[in-house]
């Protein structure tokens, strides 16, 4: 059997979004620039972007950190769909040996492939994504049974890495820029199911209404695209049920 070498794999044409000017430009200001990148075994999209920056154009701006799908830094739009690039193999997403890579949608572009995630994370805070317990460091630990229904609900959404793929893929975020988005509401839903938290009433008020769970159209693109396969739409549906119960009890 012949040994597979990078040379024998050929190359791939990669169109990369480049900002037309430095710093703070809108996503629309720029153009695609094409590079030819040599193929390699098990090559990821992040490998491709890194190759371009290290060997073809050192001015290319992008963001990454862990390279193993933990930090949530490297998400980009690849061939039309938002993906975590460090865990996306070129083999699986390239079409006719071509890749098109652009920054995440629904976020301001800082430069090239790097987006400003401030609004994305500010919305986590707006959805009361902070845990507020009742005990101090002097009290014993509060025990949460792993078998309890609430804990199992929280388990479903707890592995979010904050990559912004769901936010970039969400039509409602595009239509309503103040919409909290799937990740922030998934965080809120895990806390609603955290029996130790003391601020669920305020949290339900924060995630209700036109900018919150009631604006979700259940398109389920977030759930389909989430690289961690979290049931984001189900989390938002859970918030709809919880807010409606609170509304009917006069607690919203």
């Amino acid at each position: 059997m012949d040994q597979i070498t990078p040379q024998s794999l050929g190359s791939i044409q990669v169109s990369v979004w480049r900002s037309s000017g430095p710093g703070g430009v809108a996503a629309g200001d720029g153009r695609f620039e094409t590079f030819e990148v040599p193929r390699a075994p098990s090559q990821t999209v992040l490998d491709v972007v890194t190759h371009i920056q290290r060997h073809l154009d050192p001015t290319l701006t992008y963001r990454f950190a862990c390279r193993v799908g933990v930090c949530g830094s490297c998400a980009m739009v690849v061939n039309g769909e938002a993906r975590w690039t460090c865990r996306t193999h070129v083999d699986k997403v390239s079409k006719d040996d071509r890749l098109e890579i652009s920054p995440l949608r629904n976020l301001p572009v800082i430069r090239d492939l790097a987006t400003d995630m401030s609004e994305f994370f500010d919305k986590w805070a707006r959805a009361r994504g902070q845990f507020t317990g009742s005990r101090t460091r002097h009290d014993p630990f509060e025990v949460v049974s792993p078998q309890s229904a609430e804990r199992r609900q929280a388990d479903l959404g707890i592995e979010c890495i904050g990559c912004g793929v769901c936010y970039s893929s969400c039509d409602v975020v595009e239509w309503k820029p103040d919409y909290l988005g799937p990740a922030a509401m998934n965080r809120a839903w895990t806390l609603i199911n955290d029996t130790r938290d003391q601020t669920n009433r305020e949290r339900l008020a924060a995630v209700a209404g036109d900018a919150g769970c009631h604006a979700c159209h259940t398109h389920m693109t977030c759930t389909e695209r989430c690289p961690k396969h979290l049931p984001l739409t189900a989390a938002i549906a859970g918030l709809k049920r919880a807010t409606t119960r609170a509304l009917l009890k006069g607690e919203l």
Binding site: K176, A208, G209, H214, T243, T244, L247, L252
Partner: protein
């Protein structure tokens, strides 16, 4: 409009959607029955005039439409044209009022003896 009112609107739209699902099915089945059996307008009116259960059915149908349509339109206009505020709310309220008034007028026309 505050968050609580927005949540009420969502709930009202869900509730009216559930009712409309039932009303539309019954309405369509009745229409198909009437057409397939060749009922004349006079024969249909003879069944609906003074028929209080049918009148109540269609009053509830009209009420559900008058609640459901403006809330949905409000969402569509807000998402499509980034339109918010009082003007949007007054417009959809007027559209809801239009459906309510003309819908109830139609119900009265087939219910009240000697009307229409």
């Amino acid at each position: 409009m505050n968050t609580r009112a927005q949540a009420y609107l969502w709930f009202a739209q869900r509730l009216s959607a559930g009712l409309l699902g039932f009303f539309v099915l019954v309405h369509l089945a009745t229409m198909i029955y009437a057409v397939r059996n060749g009922l004349s307008a006079a024969e249909i009116l003879s069944r609906t005039r003074g028929n209080t259960p049918w009148m109540l059915f269609y009053v509830l149908f009209v009420l559900s439409v008058a609640v459901h349509v403006p809330i949905g339109l409000r969402n569509i206009l807000a998402e499509t044209f980034a339109w918010r505020g009082r003007g949007l709310e007054l417009l959809v309220l007027a559209i809801g009022g239009f459906f309510l008034v003309f819908g109830l007028r139609a119900v009265w026309a087939v219910y009240a003896p000697g009307a229409a």
